[in-house]
């Protein structure tokens, strides 16, 4: 890995792969590539820990450079990136945001307004329905929603209570669970 260009190539491939999973962010790719290359090849001197940003968070040095979470000093990228979005920390943060989803499942006898009532409660709480599917088999109704809960205006427990209460009013059965359960059990 002494060859700088092949290192850069690898870093680019990895960064792009990660970025694509987070939603396409070419600016992040560039930043990560520069940071990884400079950290691994030792091209830029690593500042003493006291001047480094806290773990994983970049610090704007105010002189047109930034100190990244890995300790490299790099020119401040142009564009509208806020300091939090710089470098590795933003990757972690975006991963967290992306993962904040809940799965809402309701089952019961078909009744008028089930989708409307449940989705209204989701919206009231600041949830964003990212996917919804429903089936009716012999008057038995199943609706599954995947809800983005990263912008919830109330705690998860309150969100869950509201939905369960709405379901009870409709005489149907609802289950609200964190998406991590699905991911853990159904994805290797």
């Amino acid at each position: 890995m002494s060859n700088g260009s092949s290192l850069e190539q690898v870093a680019r491939l990895v960064a792009r792969a990660v970025s694509e999973r987070l939603g396409d962010r070419p600016d992040v790719v560039e930043l990560v590539v520069r940071e990884v290359v400079s950290a691994v090849s030792g091209a830029s001197s690593v500042p003493p820990p006291s001047t480094r940003g806290p773990e994983g968070v970049a610090v704007d040095n105010g002189d047109g450079t930034i100190t990244t979470g890995l300790g490299s000093v790099l020119p401040r990228p142009s564009g509208s990136l806020t300091s939090l979005e710089l470098c590795t920390s933003c990757v972690e943060q975006r991963r967290q945001e992306v993962q904040r989803r809940a799965v809402v499942t309701t089952t019961g006898k078909n009744a008028r307004g089930v989708v409307a009532r449940i989705s209204a409660r989701v919206a009231e709480a600041g949830g964003d329905i990212q996917d919804i599917s429903q089936t009716i088999v012999s008057d038995y109704f199943t609706m599954i929603m995947v809800v983005d809960i990263s912008q919830l205006t109330l705690p998860f427990s309150g969100f869950k209570q509201n939905l369960l209460a709405a379901a009870e009013e409709l005489g149907i059965h609802a289950v609200v669970m964190h998406e991590d359960v699905m991911r853990s059990l159904q994805r290797v």
Partner: protein, 459 residues
Amino acid sequence: MFYQNEEITEILRMIENEHLDIRAVNMGISLRGIISRDLDQTCASLREHILRCAENLVPTIIDVEQEFGVPITNKRLSVTPIALVGEASGADSFVPVAVAMDRAAADVGVDYIGGFSALVEKGKTRGDRVLIDSIPEALALTERVCSSVNVATTRAGINMNAIIVMGQRIKDLAGRTADRGGIGCTKLVVFANAPEDNPFIAGAMHGVGEADVAINVGVSGPGVVLAALRRLLANNPRCDLGEISETIKRMAFKVTRAGELIGREVARRLGPPVRFGVVDLSLAPTPAVGDSVAEILEAMGLERVGAHGSTAALALMTDAVKKGGLMASSYVGGLSGAFIPVSEDRGMVEAVRVGALSLEKLEAMSAVCSVGLDMVAIPGDTPAETISAIIADEISIGVVNNKTTAVRILPIPGKGPGESVDFGGLLGEAIVQPVNRFGCADFVLRGGRVPAPLISLRN
């Protein structure tokens, strides 16, 4: 869609219909920092320390349970073996420590606390002796305290003197709780090769090699495995044992992933110094219908568990559970196998009732599962020496096979073979099983140490 509808409904079905739950989230707490020369001081510090470490345990678990939608059945504590904690005091009884543990457990809202324990595989110190002598009174007096004594390891051999004493203590304890069917003995385990990170009561303890505070998780899942097996057999009634193993593996993977997820999340929320320890893969049955290990074995084609072939079926199942679970968790530990607690498993109770499952067959099955003779009721008039001999047999299986075995045996005061006692809740109903009536006292009472087996010489 991020997930197929079938994937989502499968998980709902597992939780709602097939009893998928996290059987136990156990917080292990080291008490090495509170040892004192004064037993009263030790008791006070013990309670204070447990309250400090575990005050947020139950609320955090309830939050995680709410958010993730996976039921967490039991919330428990375990501590450093009390023989080590109490020894410096020079006290003649550790019953006050048990009382302090009981109160601390009640204060933080857990139903059991393990660790009233001693490790005496090679010999006893004064503290070990005091602890073992305190067991009957301590367990009769308290509700939540559980006790375990490790009397053998593959490395050290078997301490027969300790086994003799344990036979007597078990009898004593049964007698002291005779008004409640001898329930005290449900809280006492005699171990060979006791694991130090076991999250399952009654054998839980926080070993001396552990960190300050650890979260260990015991998964459950016989219901999920049984349902999957029944679906397989409905679609393909002539499937072979390889396919059965494969199905169990897949389900064990999912069950274990749930445990890993919950354990890590609880540890993360509690924050340092709490760390995630291990997931115990054991399939743990409950008295609920359909949540039975016995029924899994019966689904494979045995008329009743205990029939010839039961040991092979259990071996197949335990192996598949381990293989599936191993891949699902980064840190596997504890007992990790399958439990066959007789009274806690409806299928086992039924098998005993119809005469299919004998004590001898259970002993054989324990060679291929994770524990041993667990929750087995025997006549109340069984001599202490016979109990010691039963323990010695079971412990030998563990020592020679380099595995954990345990005995949680329940002499039921005033009851004979075929009679039953209902402990209620997760402990279930126990039917008294006959024991071999031929003498063994002369053998057992020779005492001494049985040398470590050849398998111990691995260096």
